[in-house]
């Protein structure tokens, strides 16, 4: 069988808001799945109202919902819940990221829907997961960052705890939701059975660190600035032209090459610095030696010297500098979407390149209720029925 898209034919119900849940389904839709985004018929997804906006629509909504079809349904109403049950009969996957308990209150929890369709895979992404004493609490990116310990280890010694400047709690939870979903899908190919996948943002962020790094021998490691505490050197150093240069040397070979480049070959055999444990232990002295050298050279000189030897090195770029890189342009990681309301919006492409069945953005995000009529028709709802539901405020059509 020939398939031009990776996930061609996969049918997905997307009851998600903001970023964490929509991340799962933007990945699916870019890989060729059919995704129906379900929104409240009046408010829509909260992310429609975030900043920045153009013509009343927020860029993050466009970013996260490209290529999806829009179904506007009030899930508090029984007739709205019935629509989801009808959809669930013929869908492969349902993704949701409401506070645990909400799907049950709406009568469309996994237990109920799996009786209708035992092959259904449901993915629930939440701040604290579906179980445990804190599962009922609402979670947001900044809460996940704060309650996973990540803010406590981000920032400079003596400075305040620091939020990661991008929404890693949300996007990472979405990515792990997608992993769980696809693994469950592979298993369903073998068994015919679906299941419920439970993702907690707090769990995902905790899984990002090597615990012994921070708790080894009972001493809690705090904020170490730009220094990676487990490898040395692996830090930012000052340059002559008042910038910072990143110099990582993750093994002895790279360290020896760095010593040669610095004109200090004796440092490589100095017993304090001869292996990584020594370099970590004597880091202050090591840092002083490297900083002394880096301060005498410009950023570009240092990059040239290290790249010539194959040593990793980099500047710290701002986003304008990143977007201007020929490499970034050639990779095509930034693309334009022509949104019917906002106009042209630059956004991030899916960061996965497939050699045989490439993924790509297939269209703009839906307007609120844009495909309600089409979707209900395909479920067999007669037109007068659809009009009645719209009149009663159960759905929004346009």
């Amino acid at each position: 069988m020939s398939r031009s898209k990776l996930l061609e034919g996969l049918k997905v119900i997307d009851i998600t808001i903001v970023i964490a849940g929509p991340t799962v389904t933007y990945l699916l839709v870019d890989m060729g799945a059919d995704v129906i985004k379900v929104e409240h018929p009046v408010r829509g997804d909260d992310a429609r109202h975030f900043m920045p906006q153009k013509n009343g629509i927020c860029s993050s909504f466009i970013w996260m919902n490209r290529g999806k079809k829009g179904l506007a349904v009030d899930l508090n109403k029984p007739e709205g819940q019935e629509i989801i049950k009808e959809l669930a009969k013929q869908s492969d996957v349902l993704v949701e990221n409401f506070t645990p308990g909400t799907m049950k209150r709406w009568g469309i929890d996994y237990e109920t829907l799996s009786r209708i369709n035992p092959g259904l895979i449901m993915v629930s992404v939440s701040g604290f997961g579906q179980t445990g004493p804190m599962s009922h609490l609402p979670g947001y990116d900044i809460v996940g960052q704060a309650m996973s310990g990540i803010m406590s280890v981000t920032g400079h010694p003596g400075g305040p705890p620091t939020r990661v400047g991008v929404l890693i709690g949300d996007t990472s939870s979405g990515a792990f939701g997608c992993i769980g979903l696809l693994a469950a899908l592979y298993n369903r190919e073998k068994t015919g059975l679906g299941q419920h996948v439970d993702i907690s943002m707090q769990d995902v962020l905790i899984s990002y660190y090597d615990l012994p790094t921070y708790t080894w021998e009972g001493k809690l490691l705090g904020r170490t600035g730009n220094r990676v505490p487990t490898i040395a050197p692996f830090d930012s150093y000052p340059t002559k032209d008042d910038r910072w240069v990143i110099i990582p040397a993750a093994n002895n070979k790279l360290w020896e090459q760095l010593c040669e480049i610095m004109g200090r070959p004796e440092l490589a055999t100095d017993p304090r610095f001869a292996d990584n444990p020594g370099r970590c232990k004597n880091y202050d002295e090591l840092s002083e030696e490297i900083s002394k050298w880096s301060s005498q050279h410009t950023l570009n000189e240092i990059i040239g010297l290290l790249q010539a030897r194959g040593n990793p090195v980099s500047p710290i770029l701002n986003i304008d500098e990143v977007l201007a890189m020929p490499h970034v342009k050639e990779r095509g990681i930034v693309v334009d979407i022509d949104d019917p309301i906002a106009g042209r919006v630059s956004t991030a492409n899916i960061p996965i390149k497939f050699s045989r069945t490439p993924a790509s953005i297939s269209g703009p995000a839906p307007m609120l209720g844009e495909h309600t009529r089409e979707i209900l028709s395909s479920l067999g709802y007669p037109e007068e029925n659809i009009n009645k539901l719209a009149q009663d405020g159960v759905i929004k059509v346009i």
Copy 2:
């Protein structure tokens, strides 16, 4: 067919080092795949030598390689390359994260191996991807963070660019590698064909931000501290007991409730703060109002007041505080591994809960060369052949 593990029977060759590549395969092995970790017979994976160590083995190696089998082979030698080709004939997936070009130099690139096994899926994770003018450059987590712009937006206004305190470049790239792998695997179930999946750490980290947030109207947004620039309020605020409290209110309902809790209902209808665009625009004044209130209450008082209304709220916890939470214990996200060399090591569990076929850690990381003899025997290598290869330094057996 009954399968007790999600990815039961999936055969994986794992030619990875450090964190980014091993993340892909720790996820696979926890989900039930058979993973063979290939290492250099003398040095092994660089991560064996990082800190912190117990009895000469680093915790991050244990974290990333739990449950894998260990094959120690020198891939610079033709007899070593031959072993990978034999393995590739009977494997589903190969994951690697060497600098682009390395696999070709070893004669085990996708083009070569896909001729041997057209169903093979190869996943390559690298700093800058397999294509583009910078593809040949080595990438490490801190380089990816620096060259994606993330360090430029992490930190406090007026302060230096800041590294995210955990290895999000590595772990996120690994997560996206796993997504690509599983999607390609689903496609192979339908088509019988494998493909090559190319992950660039820089691409992945760029995909984590909503570009217009930072570049809207040509103005580059720099570091905003703990404030999320697109939603307000969504920040940390000082408390009476000299801590910080995170207060996010992502929609008007939560904002109105917050105003009531603060005893300032009039703020909810104040035209400056009536909707999210207004609250973002007038953030300094908004922040002042909230800080004035938060400074008069202790952290626990504020948490109690907001939780009672269902508003999101949190303290900023350090890792000891996180690990002590009953919720974290009940979720089981931290588990112990009994390592044959290091002893008992606490590490992060896989952050995905499957209702029908749970994933879990199946055993410790391999010792260098631990399963070389067993694996070569299963490929049909006679014992005298294995001994000869060991003598010649092509493999390491124990």
